[in-house]
Symmetry: C3
Subunit: 270 residues, 3 copies
């Protein structure tokens, strides 16, 4: 191998394709057709259609739980069929592939050892992908490319050209003032927990943190069981972001909030 | 082996079981119990309950993306527990298994090298499946049969008797007149795209194609990005069928259409 | 190995995490990080949030379809972050892991050869899990523990201490009187079939069984196809429980019933 990264044979998939249709299954068929020993893990296929920020939020917080040498494919691709580039990022010992639409930009900005390339059109042609559709590059480009990388037949160092003009992340950052941090609900999980873009380090800086949602104050607790069933609480969740939850209930329903809602974090006065 | 087909060890599953209940998981348990090295890919489990036409549409357009030697199991089975036959089809280097309810009929009609058999009751007994339930042949017959085929312990040539009275496909065909083709929406994907039964060859025959849906004309474009966000367009999709889409939106919602809706394709006059 | 159980390398997952978020994918990443050759099967991730009874019902009826030596992980865990114990059960040649909240209690009560242990905190620390989150033990404890057991590096006999004060099952049992059995709808499947806690042995004891739902009598048939489309019937399903179904329809919608509804089984008089 020409670079130090040794492929684990593992490929993860993050898309907005859902699992209702055969799109993901067909991508796996293409992967196995090129690389019979692949192991494939679905991170999620339920990203809101074309919500690049949500995909970025989850992929950034998920990929390091996989073995070194994993190839992560993320296809949220409103620009499919245009001349938007396909980009590859190497972060720690992981390779990530996505359209150049900002999806990987947060991973790049958090890790200054990251290498970023645009995949050469010549490479895509060389592995036999010139007969591609205009609407399903997940199947026709990303799956074959991931298979070749995971099989160790293509190497990160050989597939593209370094770039420095990555499309910027669409993910909002919280704004900080003297006495508070104003964040945003990025996604809502299956339990109705509202996950924000406010991270653990911000929370840790406050001595007596509390959250304000729709003008009402709620406590910040260590875990759900630290409050009574039905209570609304802030919790630093297992992905190191502040979430607003209803204990043994559905916070999004109880508070009637959607993605994009504002969450303010501040110190309790007195 | 007695036939030329070499099993890939791969099994795909297409059902209307959903993933809400453990039905699919239990089928996989049965497969692994018989064949520890199986690899299993879900094509989809979200076929509308008992919608054989939808399953036929997707399986026909998906199976060739998998490696040669793959065993494809399709269980949409309103006749479970009756004496309906179980059929196996060999198409190219793939084996497909389904109840004899028309699900595989389109695959057979498109490929005149296809071999079709009804699985012998004696074979089902021989692999120990006489103690089967009356309601879950996916677990009790299809999964074990697929495992034995994928493991290479059973061979297509040995499991049944050629048949020529296949149950016909429930999938509608478009009707063609001098100046137009009238098709039907067969399924709606996660993005709200309306997928029709009009194929690429039909579209290619028109110099200036446009589509008519609910008495309104829309253009046919090469890819979604060729029209403005919000526009309704016809697109030849990556599975070679005409779909009606709203660019960066949900066509089914925007047009308020369901499966079964009529789509007319014709040449733009002038 | 110190016990007779030989690990199959297979791990099953049963959770209420859904597949909308990356929770399950990340658990799989953790498993593969520790045990590259693992095979992982999803039983279901769609247990109603925190519905321990539903998880118990399905896991009890699913786990024996998997190969001997399988490790089954069930995470429905409203007490996460508290000092609730983690328990392991060995039943036949299977290992099951869950929080001590009653989820495994029915499996234990049905098999008097079962061994039950509470996992030692020291074991959890030893495999490097002291840096765990307060809210996601599926990722931080259950996945690593399952990986070590499935890899054969940890053995059931070595990871805990026998316990006899298991938290009781939340799953209701049917009540039996002279002439009838009164059961409860535990779950509703994708087809709208209403699955009860009344088992095959109870049904087999009746010569001419019929069911009463919302004061209306319905017949008990062998399979769906034994009645006309649209008919409401009782059927002993493939998991050995009585279900109420509408033939080729959705029983739950047709009858307007939810989980918890009462179903009475009795002999037809005369």
């Amino acid at each position: 191998m020409q670079d130090l990264l040794s492929a684990s044979g593992l490929i993860t998939l993050t898309t907005d394709f859902g699992t209702h249709d055969p799109f993901v299954g067909v991508m796996k068929g293409v992967i196995f057709s090129r690389y019979a020993d692949a192991r494939i893990v679905d991170i999620t296929h339920s990203i809101q259609p074309q919500n690049i920020a949500e995909a970025s939020f989850w992929l950034m917080r998920s990929y390091r739980y996989f073995p070194d040498g994993t190839v992560h494919v993320a296809v949220i691709d409103p620009g499919v069929g245009t001349d938007r580039r396909i980009v590859a990022v190497r972060s720690a010992s992981h390779i990530l592939l996505a359209p150049d639409n900002g999806l990987l930009a947060d991973i790049v900005s958090r890790d200054n050892t990251t290498q970023c390339i645009a995949v050469d059109a010549e490479v895509i042609d060389r592995i036999g992908l010139h007969l591609r559709s205009a609407t399903f590059h997940g199947r026709d480009i990303f799956a074959p490319l991931a298979a070749e990388l995971a099989a160790g037949r293509l190497h990160f160092a050989d597939i593209g050209t370094p770039i420095f003009d990555f499309v910027a992340s669409p993910l909002e950052q919280p704004s900080t003032s003297n006495d508070s941090v104003v964040g945003t609900v990025i996604t809502i999980d299956r339990f109705g927990n509202l996950l924000t873009n406010i991270e653990g380090a911000v929370l840790a800086a406050l001595a007596k943190p509390m959250v304000i949602v729709a003008d009402v104050e709620y406590p910040v607790v260590r875990t759900y069981a630290d409050a009574m069933p039905g209570a609304i609480v802030g919790v630093l969740n297992a992905f190191d972001v502040l979430e607003i939850a209803q204990v043994q209930g559905n916070g999004a329903v109880a508070l009637n909030l959607e993605r994009g809602a504002t969450v303010t974090l501040r110190n309790r006065s007195g």
